[in-house]
Amino acid sequence: MISPQIALHDPIFRAYFWIVLISLAIGGATLGFLRVVLKKDTASMFRTYWSWIFMAGIGLIVVFLGRIPTIVGVTLLAIYAFKEFARASGLYRDWWMTGAVYAGIVTVGISSVISHPRGEEPGTGWYGFFVAVPVFEIALILFIPILRNRARGELQRMSLAIVGFIYIGWMFGHLGFLANASNAYGFICYIIFATALSDVAAFTFGKIFGRHPLRSEISPNKTWEGALGAFAVAMILPWILRFSFPFFGIWQLILTGLIVGIGGQLGDLSISVIKRDIGTKDMAATIPGHGGILDRIDSLIYAAPLFMHMAGYYYPLR
Protein backbone atom coordinates (compact mmCIF):
# COMPACT_ATOMS: atom_id res chain seq x y z
CA MET A 1 0.00 0.00 0.00
CA ILE A 2 1.39 3.42 -0.86
CA SER A 3 1.86 5.96 1.91
CA PRO A 4 4.08 8.96 2.71
CA GLN A 5 6.55 6.81 4.67
CA ILE A 6 6.99 4.46 1.74
CA ALA A 7 7.11 7.28 -0.81
CA LEU A 8 10.12 8.81 0.94
CA HIS A 9 12.14 5.67 0.36
CA ASP A 10 10.56 4.42 -2.84
CA PRO A 11 13.07 4.64 -5.70
CA ILE A 12 10.34 4.98 -8.35
CA PHE A 13 8.55 7.86 -6.64
CA ARG A 14 11.85 9.63 -5.91
CA ALA A 15 12.92 9.15 -9.51
CA TYR A 16 9.68 10.67 -10.79
CA PHE A 17 10.06 13.58 -8.41
CA TRP A 18 13.36 14.43 -10.09
CA ILE A 19 12.09 13.63 -13.58
CA VAL A 20 9.18 16.05 -13.18
CA LEU A 21 11.46 18.71 -11.71
CA ILE A 22 14.01 18.35 -14.51
CA SER A 23 11.34 18.31 -17.23
CA LEU A 24 9.82 21.50 -15.85
CA ALA A 25 13.29 23.06 -15.70
CA ILE A 26 14.00 22.08 -19.30
CA GLY A 27 10.62 23.44 -20.38
CA GLY A 28 11.25 26.70 -18.53
CA ALA A 29 14.73 27.03 -20.00
CA THR A 30 13.39 26.43 -23.52
CA LEU A 31 10.69 29.06 -23.08
CA GLY A 32 13.23 31.46 -21.61
CA PHE A 33 15.51 30.88 -24.58
CA LEU A 34 12.64 31.56 -27.00
CA ARG A 35 11.79 34.75 -25.18
CA VAL A 36 15.20 36.23 -24.40
CA VAL A 37 17.35 35.06 -27.34
CA LEU A 38 14.85 34.64 -30.17
CA LYS A 39 12.56 37.45 -28.92
CA LYS A 40 9.42 35.44 -29.57
CA ASP A 41 6.10 36.31 -28.02
CA THR A 42 5.78 33.62 -25.37
CA ALA A 43 3.29 35.23 -23.00
CA SER A 44 0.55 32.65 -23.57
CA MET A 45 3.05 29.77 -23.45
CA PHE A 46 4.36 31.05 -20.14
CA ARG A 47 0.84 31.15 -18.73
CA THR A 48 0.44 27.51 -19.74
CA TYR A 49 3.82 26.74 -18.24
CA TRP A 50 3.02 28.28 -14.83
CA SER A 51 -0.13 26.18 -14.72
CA TRP A 52 1.97 23.10 -15.48
CA ILE A 53 4.18 23.85 -12.49
CA PHE A 54 1.14 24.31 -10.29
CA MET A 55 -0.48 21.07 -11.45
CA ALA A 56 2.76 19.08 -11.18
CA GLY A 57 3.17 20.29 -7.60
CA ILE A 58 -0.36 19.33 -6.61
CA GLY A 59 -0.10 15.99 -8.39
CA LEU A 60 3.18 15.06 -6.70
CA ILE A 61 1.86 16.06 -3.26
CA VAL A 62 -1.36 14.08 -3.68
CA VAL A 63 0.43 10.92 -4.87
CA PHE A 64 2.99 11.37 -2.08
CA LEU A 65 0.21 11.49 0.53
CA GLY A 66 -0.77 7.93 -0.30
CA ARG A 67 -3.54 5.69 -1.48
CA ILE A 68 -6.67 7.32 -0.11
CA PRO A 69 -5.63 10.92 -0.91
CA THR A 70 -4.88 9.82 -4.47
CA ILE A 71 -8.29 8.20 -4.87
CA VAL A 72 -10.04 11.18 -3.26
CA GLY A 73 -8.07 13.55 -5.49
CA VAL A 74 -9.00 11.64 -8.65
CA THR A 75 -12.65 11.54 -7.52
CA LEU A 76 -12.72 15.31 -6.89
CA LEU A 77 -11.11 15.90 -10.28
CA ALA A 78 -13.70 13.65 -11.93
CA ILE A 79 -16.52 15.51 -10.14
CA TYR A 80 -15.18 18.84 -11.33
CA ALA A 81 -14.55 17.57 -14.86
CA PHE A 82 -18.09 16.21 -15.03
CA LYS A 83 -19.38 19.55 -13.74
CA GLU A 84 -17.65 21.25 -16.67
CA PHE A 85 -19.17 18.73 -19.06
CA ALA A 86 -22.62 19.24 -17.54
CA ARG A 87 -22.32 23.02 -17.76
CA ALA A 88 -21.21 22.89 -21.39
CA SER A 89 -23.84 20.38 -22.48
CA GLY A 90 -26.70 21.99 -20.56
CA LEU A 91 -27.25 18.88 -18.43
CA TYR A 92 -26.50 20.94 -15.30
CA ARG A 93 -30.04 22.31 -15.35
CA ASP A 94 -31.33 18.81 -14.55
CA TRP A 95 -30.58 18.33 -10.88
CA TRP A 96 -31.73 14.73 -10.81
CA MET A 97 -29.45 13.59 -13.59
CA THR A 98 -26.41 15.52 -12.40
CA GLY A 99 -27.07 14.37 -8.84
CA ALA A 100 -27.23 10.75 -10.01
CA VAL A 101 -23.94 11.10 -11.88
CA TYR A 102 -22.21 12.76 -8.90
CA ALA A 103 -23.45 9.92 -6.72
CA GLY A 104 -22.06 7.44 -9.26
CA ILE A 105 -18.65 9.15 -9.33
CA VAL A 106 -18.49 9.07 -5.53
CA THR A 107 -19.42 5.37 -5.66
CA VAL A 108 -16.54 4.73 -8.05
CA GLY A 109 -14.24 6.43 -5.53
CA ILE A 110 -15.67 4.40 -2.63
CA SER A 111 -15.31 1.12 -4.53
CA SER A 112 -11.65 1.94 -5.10
CA VAL A 113 -11.08 2.54 -1.39
CA ILE A 114 -12.96 -0.28 0.34
CA SER A 115 -12.03 -3.92 -0.11
CA HIS A 116 -14.22 -6.91 -0.83
CA PRO A 117 -16.46 -7.53 2.21
CA ARG A 118 -15.55 -11.22 2.27
CA GLY A 119 -11.87 -12.02 2.33
CA GLU A 120 -9.04 -10.11 0.62
CA GLU A 121 -6.67 -8.00 2.59
CA PRO A 122 -7.54 -4.32 3.16
CA GLY A 123 -6.14 -1.69 0.85
CA THR A 124 -6.80 -3.55 -2.38
CA GLY A 125 -9.96 -1.88 -3.57
CA TRP A 126 -13.05 -3.89 -4.51
CA TYR A 127 -12.25 -4.64 -8.14
CA GLY A 128 -15.45 -6.58 -8.88
CA PHE A 129 -17.65 -3.73 -7.70
CA PHE A 130 -15.48 -1.09 -9.30
CA VAL A 131 -15.95 -2.72 -12.70
CA ALA A 132 -19.69 -3.19 -12.07
CA VAL A 133 -20.52 0.38 -10.99
CA PRO A 134 -21.68 1.36 -14.54
CA VAL A 135 -24.39 -1.32 -14.38
CA PHE A 136 -25.92 0.22 -11.26
CA GLU A 137 -25.35 3.78 -12.43
CA ILE A 138 -27.04 3.23 -15.80
CA ALA A 139 -29.91 1.47 -14.04
CA LEU A 140 -30.27 4.55 -11.81
CA ILE A 141 -30.11 7.00 -14.73
CA LEU A 142 -32.73 5.06 -16.71
CA PHE A 143 -34.94 4.98 -13.63
CA ILE A 144 -35.01 8.76 -13.19
CA PRO A 145 -37.41 9.66 -16.07
CA ILE A 146 -39.74 6.85 -14.95
CA LEU A 147 -39.67 8.15 -11.40
CA ARG A 148 -40.50 11.67 -12.57
CA ASN A 149 -43.06 10.51 -15.13
CA ARG A 150 -41.42 12.47 -17.93
CA ALA A 151 -40.47 11.53 -21.48
CA ARG A 152 -39.91 14.70 -23.50
CA GLY A 153 -36.20 15.30 -24.07
CA GLU A 154 -35.28 12.56 -21.63
CA LEU A 155 -33.31 10.51 -24.16
CA GLN A 156 -30.92 13.41 -24.59
CA ARG A 157 -30.54 13.86 -20.85
CA MET A 158 -30.06 10.15 -20.19
CA SER A 159 -27.49 9.91 -22.97
CA LEU A 160 -25.55 12.90 -21.73
CA ALA A 161 -25.63 11.58 -18.18
CA ILE A 162 -24.46 8.11 -19.25
CA VAL A 163 -21.67 9.44 -21.46
CA GLY A 164 -20.66 11.84 -18.70
CA PHE A 165 -20.57 9.14 -16.07
CA ILE A 166 -18.90 6.39 -18.10
CA TYR A 167 -16.33 8.56 -19.77
CA ILE A 168 -15.50 11.17 -17.16
CA GLY A 169 -16.50 9.45 -13.96
CA TRP A 170 -15.72 5.79 -14.43
CA MET A 171 -13.00 5.68 -17.07
CA PHE A 172 -11.09 8.46 -15.37
CA GLY A 173 -11.74 6.73 -12.04
CA HIS A 174 -9.37 3.97 -13.19
CA LEU A 175 -6.52 6.32 -12.46
CA GLY A 176 -7.59 6.30 -8.81
CA PHE A 177 -7.97 2.52 -8.80
CA LEU A 178 -4.37 2.22 -9.98
CA ALA A 179 -3.39 3.46 -6.50
CA ASN A 180 -4.30 -0.04 -5.26
CA ALA A 181 -1.71 -1.75 -7.48
CA SER A 182 1.42 -3.12 -5.85
CA ASN A 183 3.37 -1.09 -8.41
CA ALA A 184 1.19 1.99 -7.86
CA TYR A 185 3.95 4.61 -8.06
CA GLY A 186 5.28 3.24 -11.32
CA PHE A 187 1.87 2.96 -12.97
CA ILE A 188 0.36 6.26 -11.80
CA CYS A 189 3.45 8.39 -12.26
CA TYR A 190 4.21 6.86 -15.65
CA ILE A 191 0.73 7.23 -17.12
CA ILE A 192 0.34 10.84 -15.94
CA PHE A 193 3.83 11.85 -16.99
CA ALA A 194 3.65 10.07 -20.35
CA THR A 195 0.28 11.54 -21.38
CA ALA A 196 1.38 15.01 -20.28
CA LEU A 197 4.64 14.73 -22.19
CA SER A 198 2.94 13.42 -25.32
CA ASP A 199 0.48 16.33 -25.14
CA VAL A 200 3.39 18.74 -24.98
CA ALA A 201 5.11 16.87 -27.81
CA ALA A 202 1.98 17.07 -29.96
CA PHE A 203 1.82 20.81 -29.36
CA THR A 204 5.53 21.35 -30.02
CA PHE A 205 5.80 19.20 -33.16
CA GLY A 206 2.57 20.67 -34.47
CA LYS A 207 3.86 24.19 -33.87
CA ILE A 208 7.18 23.56 -35.61
CA PHE A 209 6.34 21.16 -38.45
CA GLY A 210 2.53 21.28 -38.58
CA ARG A 211 1.20 21.37 -42.17
CA HIS A 212 -1.49 18.75 -42.71
CA PRO A 213 -4.64 18.93 -40.61
CA LEU A 214 -5.31 15.73 -38.70
CA ARG A 215 -9.10 15.95 -38.48
CA SER A 216 -10.21 19.22 -40.03
CA GLU A 217 -13.87 18.81 -39.04
CA ILE A 218 -13.08 18.17 -35.38
CA SER A 219 -10.12 20.23 -34.31
CA PRO A 220 -8.59 22.59 -36.87
CA ASN A 221 -5.38 23.15 -34.90
CA LYS A 222 -4.24 19.55 -34.64
CA THR A 223 -1.91 18.29 -37.37
CA TRP A 224 -0.58 14.94 -38.55
CA GLU A 225 2.94 16.14 -37.82
CA GLY A 226 2.05 16.88 -34.20
CA ALA A 227 0.28 13.56 -33.79
CA LEU A 228 3.21 11.62 -35.26
CA GLY A 229 5.68 13.50 -33.06
CA ALA A 230 3.62 12.68 -29.97
CA PHE A 231 3.34 9.08 -31.12
CA ALA A 232 7.11 8.79 -31.53
CA VAL A 233 7.72 10.24 -28.06
CA ALA A 234 5.12 7.93 -26.54
CA MET A 235 6.70 4.86 -28.19
CA ILE A 236 10.22 5.68 -27.01
CA LEU A 237 9.26 6.71 -23.47
CA PRO A 238 8.47 3.22 -22.03
CA TRP A 239 12.01 2.12 -22.87
CA ILE A 240 13.57 5.17 -21.25
CA LEU A 241 11.40 4.90 -18.14
CA ARG A 242 11.53 1.12 -17.99
CA PHE A 243 12.33 1.24 -14.27
CA SER A 244 8.68 2.19 -13.65
CA PHE A 245 7.60 -1.36 -14.53
CA PRO A 246 10.69 -3.58 -14.48
CA PHE A 247 8.60 -6.72 -14.96
CA PHE A 248 7.20 -5.54 -18.34
CA GLY A 249 8.37 -7.49 -21.39
CA ILE A 250 8.81 -6.13 -24.91
CA TRP A 251 5.16 -6.61 -25.83
CA GLN A 252 3.93 -4.78 -22.77
CA LEU A 253 6.29 -1.90 -23.43
CA ILE A 254 5.07 -1.65 -27.02
CA LEU A 255 1.44 -1.80 -25.89
CA THR A 256 2.12 0.90 -23.29
CA GLY A 257 3.57 3.07 -26.03
CA LEU A 258 0.59 2.46 -28.31
CA ILE A 259 -1.93 3.18 -25.53
CA VAL A 260 -0.33 6.51 -24.67
CA GLY A 261 0.63 7.42 -28.23
CA ILE A 262 -2.69 6.62 -29.91
CA GLY A 263 -5.06 6.58 -26.94
CA GLY A 264 -3.90 9.95 -25.71
CA GLN A 265 -4.56 11.53 -29.10
CA LEU A 266 -7.94 9.85 -29.38
CA GLY A 267 -8.89 11.12 -25.93
CA ASP A 268 -7.95 14.62 -26.99
CA LEU A 269 -9.94 14.32 -30.20
CA SER A 270 -12.97 12.77 -28.53
CA ILE A 271 -13.31 15.72 -26.17
CA SER A 272 -12.87 17.94 -29.25
CA VAL A 273 -15.80 16.15 -30.90
CA ILE A 274 -17.97 16.96 -27.87
CA LYS A 275 -16.79 20.57 -27.79
CA ARG A 276 -17.26 20.97 -31.54
CA ASP A 277 -20.80 19.65 -31.42
CA ILE A 278 -21.71 21.84 -28.46
CA GLY A 279 -20.01 24.78 -30.14
CA THR A 280 -17.56 25.92 -27.50
CA LYS A 281 -13.81 26.37 -27.70
CA ASP A 282 -12.92 25.23 -24.20
CA MET A 283 -15.00 23.35 -21.67
CA ALA A 284 -14.32 26.04 -19.07
CA ALA A 285 -11.67 28.55 -18.05
CA THR A 286 -10.51 26.85 -14.88
CA ILE A 287 -6.77 26.48 -15.57
CA PRO A 288 -5.10 29.57 -17.08
CA GLY A 289 -3.54 28.67 -20.44
CA HIS A 290 -5.16 25.23 -20.59
CA GLY A 291 -8.92 25.78 -20.58
CA GLY A 292 -10.99 23.55 -18.35
CA ILE A 293 -9.94 20.60 -16.22
CA LEU A 294 -11.55 18.38 -18.83
CA ASP A 295 -9.39 19.90 -21.57
CA ARG A 296 -6.34 19.03 -19.49
CA ILE A 297 -7.17 15.46 -18.50
CA ASP A 298 -8.74 14.42 -21.82
CA SER A 299 -5.88 12.18 -22.98
CA LEU A 300 -5.50 10.69 -19.50
CA ILE A 301 -9.18 9.71 -19.44
CA TYR A 302 -8.69 7.61 -22.55
CA ALA A 303 -5.26 6.18 -21.78
CA ALA A 304 -5.45 5.39 -18.03
CA PRO A 305 -8.18 2.70 -18.15
CA LEU A 306 -6.64 1.03 -21.22
CA PHE A 307 -3.29 0.99 -19.52
CA MET A 308 -4.73 -0.41 -16.30
CA HIS A 309 -6.53 -3.26 -18.02
CA MET A 310 -3.53 -4.03 -20.22
CA ALA A 311 -1.26 -4.26 -17.18
CA GLY A 312 -3.92 -6.18 -15.25
CA TYR A 313 -4.24 -8.71 -18.06
CA TYR A 314 -0.57 -9.68 -18.04
CA TYR A 315 0.21 -9.24 -14.35
CA PRO A 316 -2.02 -9.22 -11.29
CA LEU A 317 -2.39 -5.61 -10.15
CA ARG A 318 -1.72 -6.69 -6.59
Binding site: G90, W95, Y102, T286
Partner: protein, 242 residues
Protein backbone atom coordinates in the same frame (compact mmCIF):
# COMPACT_ATOMS: atom_id res chain seq x y z
CA UNK B 1 -33.05 12.77 -36.70
CA UNK B 2 -33.72 16.14 -35.20
CA UNK B 3 -30.66 18.04 -34.08
CA UNK B 4 -30.01 18.16 -30.36
CA UNK B 5 -29.91 21.57 -28.79
CA UNK B 6 -27.35 22.03 -26.06
CA UNK B 7 -28.42 24.57 -23.52
CA UNK B 8 -24.90 25.54 -22.40
CA UNK B 9 -24.42 27.78 -19.42
CA UNK B 10 -23.74 31.37 -20.37
CA UNK B 11 -20.56 31.71 -18.33
CA UNK B 12 -18.43 28.95 -19.84
CA UNK B 13 -15.65 31.32 -20.75
CA UNK B 14 -15.40 32.90 -17.31
CA UNK B 15 -12.78 31.92 -14.78
CA UNK B 16 -14.02 30.41 -11.50
CA UNK B 17 -13.36 33.71 -9.72
CA UNK B 18 -15.41 35.67 -12.24
CA UNK B 19 -18.18 33.15 -11.89
CA UNK B 20 -18.32 33.85 -8.16
CA UNK B 21 -18.57 37.55 -8.90
CA UNK B 22 -21.33 37.38 -11.46
CA UNK B 23 -24.97 37.90 -10.61
CA UNK B 24 -27.48 36.35 -11.14
CA UNK B 25 -25.66 33.05 -10.62
CA UNK B 26 -26.08 29.90 -12.68
CA UNK B 27 -27.70 27.00 -10.80
CA UNK B 28 -25.15 24.54 -9.46
CA UNK B 29 -26.27 21.49 -7.55
CA UNK B 30 -22.91 21.16 -5.80
CA UNK B 31 -23.13 24.72 -4.50
CA UNK B 32 -26.76 24.20 -3.47
CA UNK B 33 -25.84 21.06 -1.58
CA UNK B 34 -22.94 22.72 0.19
CA UNK B 35 -25.07 25.76 1.02
CA UNK B 36 -27.81 23.61 2.52
CA UNK B 37 -25.37 21.62 4.64
CA UNK B 38 -23.63 24.75 5.93
CA UNK B 39 -27.04 26.36 6.62
CA UNK B 40 -28.00 23.37 8.77
CA UNK B 41 -24.75 23.62 10.70
CA UNK B 42 -25.21 27.39 11.20
CA UNK B 43 -28.77 26.83 12.42
CA UNK B 44 -27.55 24.28 14.93
CA UNK B 45 -24.75 26.53 16.13
CA UNK B 46 -27.04 29.55 16.49
CA UNK B 47 -29.48 27.52 18.57
CA UNK B 48 -26.83 26.05 20.84
CA UNK B 49 -24.26 28.82 21.08
CA UNK B 50 -26.60 31.83 20.96
CA UNK B 51 -29.86 30.20 22.14
CA UNK B 52 -31.42 31.60 18.98
CA UNK B 53 -35.17 32.00 19.01
CA UNK B 54 -37.70 33.16 16.40
CA UNK B 55 -40.87 35.06 17.30
CA UNK B 56 -43.58 35.60 14.70
CA UNK B 57 -42.40 32.89 12.35
CA UNK B 58 -45.84 32.71 10.68
CA UNK B 59 -45.29 36.13 9.08
CA UNK B 60 -42.73 34.61 6.73
CA UNK B 61 -44.97 31.80 5.56
CA UNK B 62 -45.80 32.70 1.96
CA UNK B 63 -44.83 31.53 -1.51
CA UNK B 64 -44.86 35.05 -2.91
CA UNK B 65 -41.83 37.25 -3.33
CA UNK B 66 -40.86 39.03 -0.13
CA UNK B 67 -38.71 41.92 0.97
CA UNK B 68 -37.33 41.45 4.48
CA UNK B 69 -36.20 44.65 6.18
CA UNK B 70 -34.18 44.51 9.38
CA UNK B 71 -31.83 46.36 11.68
CA UNK B 72 -28.13 45.69 11.20
CA UNK B 73 -25.43 45.53 13.88
CA UNK B 74 -23.55 42.39 13.05
CA UNK B 75 -22.82 39.69 10.49
CA UNK B 76 -25.04 37.46 12.61
CA UNK B 77 -28.11 39.39 11.41
CA UNK B 78 -27.93 37.83 7.95
CA UNK B 79 -27.39 34.38 9.38
CA UNK B 80 -30.35 34.79 11.74
CA UNK B 81 -32.66 35.87 8.94
CA UNK B 82 -31.51 33.02 6.69
CA UNK B 83 -32.03 30.59 9.56
CA UNK B 84 -35.68 31.65 9.71
CA UNK B 85 -36.32 30.54 6.11
CA UNK B 86 -37.10 27.00 4.99
CA UNK B 87 -34.08 25.25 3.43
CA UNK B 88 -35.63 24.89 0.00
CA UNK B 89 -36.12 28.67 -0.27
CA UNK B 90 -32.49 29.36 0.61
CA UNK B 91 -31.33 29.41 -3.00
CA UNK B 92 -33.90 32.03 -3.90
CA UNK B 93 -33.10 34.22 -0.87
CA UNK B 94 -30.68 37.03 -1.57
CA UNK B 95 -29.27 39.12 1.27
CA UNK B 96 -28.13 42.41 -0.25
CA UNK B 97 -24.44 42.70 0.62
CA UNK B 98 -22.15 45.66 0.08
CA UNK B 99 -20.19 44.92 -3.07
CA UNK B 100 -17.31 47.09 -1.83
CA UNK B 101 -16.94 44.89 1.25
CA UNK B 102 -18.07 41.40 0.31
CA UNK B 103 -17.17 41.19 -3.36
CA UNK B 104 -13.51 42.20 -3.24
CA UNK B 105 -11.33 39.79 -1.26
CA UNK B 106 -11.52 36.15 -2.34
CA UNK B 107 -12.49 34.46 0.98
CA UNK B 108 -15.29 36.97 1.59
CA UNK B 109 -16.39 36.65 -2.02
CA UNK B 110 -16.55 32.88 -1.68
CA UNK B 111 -18.60 33.07 1.51
CA UNK B 112 -20.92 35.70 0.04
CA UNK B 113 -21.50 33.82 -3.22
CA UNK B 114 -21.56 30.20 -2.07
CA UNK B 115 -22.73 30.17 1.55
CA UNK B 116 -24.89 33.29 1.85
CA UNK B 117 -26.02 33.64 -1.78
CA UNK B 118 -25.58 37.38 -1.44
CA UNK B 119 -26.68 39.97 -3.96
CA UNK B 120 -23.87 42.42 -4.73
CA UNK B 121 -25.26 45.83 -3.82
CA UNK B 122 -23.22 48.83 -4.95
CA UNK B 123 -24.07 51.12 -2.05
CA UNK B 124 -21.72 53.97 -2.97
CA UNK B 125 -22.02 54.24 -6.71
CA UNK B 126 -24.65 52.84 -9.05
CA UNK B 127 -27.24 52.46 -6.29
CA UNK B 128 -29.97 52.85 -8.88
CA UNK B 129 -28.55 50.00 -10.94
CA UNK B 130 -28.50 47.73 -7.89
CA UNK B 131 -32.07 48.70 -7.06
CA UNK B 132 -33.27 47.84 -10.55
CA UNK B 133 -31.52 44.48 -10.22
CA UNK B 134 -33.54 43.92 -7.03
CA UNK B 135 -36.72 44.90 -8.85
CA UNK B 136 -36.04 42.37 -11.59
CA UNK B 137 -35.48 39.63 -9.05
CA UNK B 138 -38.78 40.41 -7.33
CA UNK B 139 -40.70 39.78 -10.56
CA UNK B 140 -40.19 36.01 -10.38
CA UNK B 141 -42.26 34.53 -7.55
CA UNK B 142 -40.57 33.06 -4.54
CA UNK B 143 -37.72 35.55 -4.42
CA UNK B 144 -36.74 36.70 -0.95
CA UNK B 145 -34.71 39.88 -0.69
CA UNK B 146 -33.04 40.61 2.63
CA UNK B 147 -32.20 44.27 2.97
CA UNK B 148 -30.60 46.24 5.76
CA UNK B 149 -31.75 49.78 4.95
CA UNK B 150 -29.36 51.34 7.45
CA UNK B 151 -26.73 50.73 4.79
CA UNK B 152 -24.07 49.45 7.18
CA UNK B 153 -23.61 47.77 10.54
CA UNK B 154 -24.48 50.07 13.43
CA UNK B 155 -21.51 50.69 15.73
CA UNK B 156 -23.62 51.61 18.75
CA UNK B 157 -26.44 49.10 18.57
CA UNK B 158 -28.87 51.98 17.97
CA UNK B 159 -31.19 51.90 14.98
CA UNK B 160 -29.85 54.39 12.40
CA UNK B 161 -31.85 56.25 9.78
CA UNK B 162 -33.11 54.12 6.89
CA UNK B 163 -31.85 55.02 3.42
CA UNK B 164 -34.55 56.09 1.02
CA UNK B 165 -33.61 53.36 -1.51
CA UNK B 166 -35.80 50.88 0.33
CA UNK B 167 -38.74 53.19 -0.27
CA UNK B 168 -37.95 53.42 -3.96
CA UNK B 169 -37.83 49.65 -4.17
CA UNK B 170 -41.20 48.91 -2.59
CA UNK B 171 -43.28 51.98 -3.50
CA UNK B 172 -46.09 51.17 -5.94
CA UNK B 173 -45.12 47.49 -5.95
CA UNK B 174 -47.42 44.71 -4.82
CA UNK B 175 -44.90 42.91 -2.67
CA UNK B 176 -45.10 42.17 1.05
CA UNK B 177 -42.46 43.97 3.11
CA UNK B 178 -41.70 42.18 6.36
CA UNK B 179 -40.07 44.28 9.08
CA UNK B 180 -37.82 42.28 11.39
CA UNK B 181 -35.89 43.11 14.52
CA UNK B 182 -32.86 41.11 15.57
CA UNK B 183 -32.25 41.38 19.27
CA UNK B 184 -28.87 40.74 20.83
CA UNK B 185 -26.70 40.63 17.74
CA UNK B 186 -24.86 43.80 18.74
CA UNK B 187 -23.80 42.22 22.02
CA UNK B 188 -23.08 38.88 20.41
CA UNK B 189 -20.81 40.06 17.59
CA UNK B 190 -20.27 43.82 17.28
CA UNK B 191 -18.40 45.32 14.38
CA UNK B 192 -14.66 44.98 14.85
CA UNK B 193 -14.69 41.85 17.03
CA UNK B 194 -13.07 38.76 15.56
CA UNK B 195 -15.41 36.11 16.88
CA UNK B 196 -19.02 36.01 18.13
CA UNK B 197 -19.79 35.66 21.81
CA UNK B 198 -22.42 33.31 23.29
CA UNK B 199 -25.10 35.96 23.85
CA UNK B 200 -28.81 35.33 23.46
CA UNK B 201 -30.21 36.11 19.98
CA UNK B 202 -33.83 36.68 19.13
CA UNK B 203 -35.46 37.34 15.78
CA UNK B 204 -38.80 39.12 15.92
CA UNK B 205 -40.73 38.99 12.67
CA UNK B 206 -43.40 41.66 12.25
CA UNK B 207 -46.58 41.60 10.19
CA UNK B 208 -46.07 42.23 6.46
CA UNK B 209 -46.72 45.73 5.09
CA UNK B 210 -47.65 46.62 1.54
CA UNK B 211 -46.95 49.85 -0.35
CA UNK B 212 -48.71 49.09 -3.62
CA UNK B 213 -50.84 52.23 -3.33
CA UNK B 214 -47.96 54.62 -2.72
CA UNK B 215 -46.59 57.02 -5.28
CA UNK B 216 -42.98 57.04 -6.33
CA UNK B 217 -42.06 60.67 -5.67
CA UNK B 218 -39.27 61.67 -3.32
CA UNK B 219 -41.51 62.64 -0.42
CA UNK B 220 -43.43 59.39 -0.32
CA UNK B 221 -40.29 57.31 -0.72
CA UNK B 222 -38.72 58.98 2.28
CA UNK B 223 -41.96 58.56 4.21
CA UNK B 224 -41.94 54.82 3.48
CA UNK B 225 -38.36 54.51 4.68
CA UNK B 226 -39.26 56.34 7.90
CA UNK B 227 -42.37 54.24 8.38
CA UNK B 228 -40.41 51.01 7.97
CA UNK B 229 -37.87 52.22 10.48
CA UNK B 230 -40.71 52.98 12.85
CA UNK B 231 -42.10 49.46 12.31
CA UNK B 232 -38.74 47.88 13.16
CA UNK B 233 -38.35 50.15 16.17
CA UNK B 234 -41.80 49.23 17.40
CA UNK B 235 -40.92 45.52 17.26
CA UNK B 236 -37.97 46.33 19.47
CA UNK B 237 -40.02 48.20 22.05
CA UNK B 238 -42.98 45.84 22.04
CA UNK B 239 -40.82 42.83 22.75
CA UNK B 240 -39.12 44.35 25.74
CA UNK B 241 -35.56 44.48 24.52
CA UNK B 242 -32.67 46.03 26.34
Amino acid sequence: MKKWRYDSSRDLERTPLDRLRQFPREPDILVYGLRSIVALIIRGLLRIYNRFEIIGHENLRTNRSLVIVANHCSHLDTLCLLAALPLRKLHRAFPAAASDYFFQSVPRLWIAAVIVNALPFARQMRVRQSLSLCEQLLISPGTILIIFPEGTRSTTGELREFKSGIGALVAGRDVPVVPCFIDGSFLAWPKGKRLPRPRKLRLIVGAPLNYRACGRDKMEICAIAAELREAVNELRQRNGSN
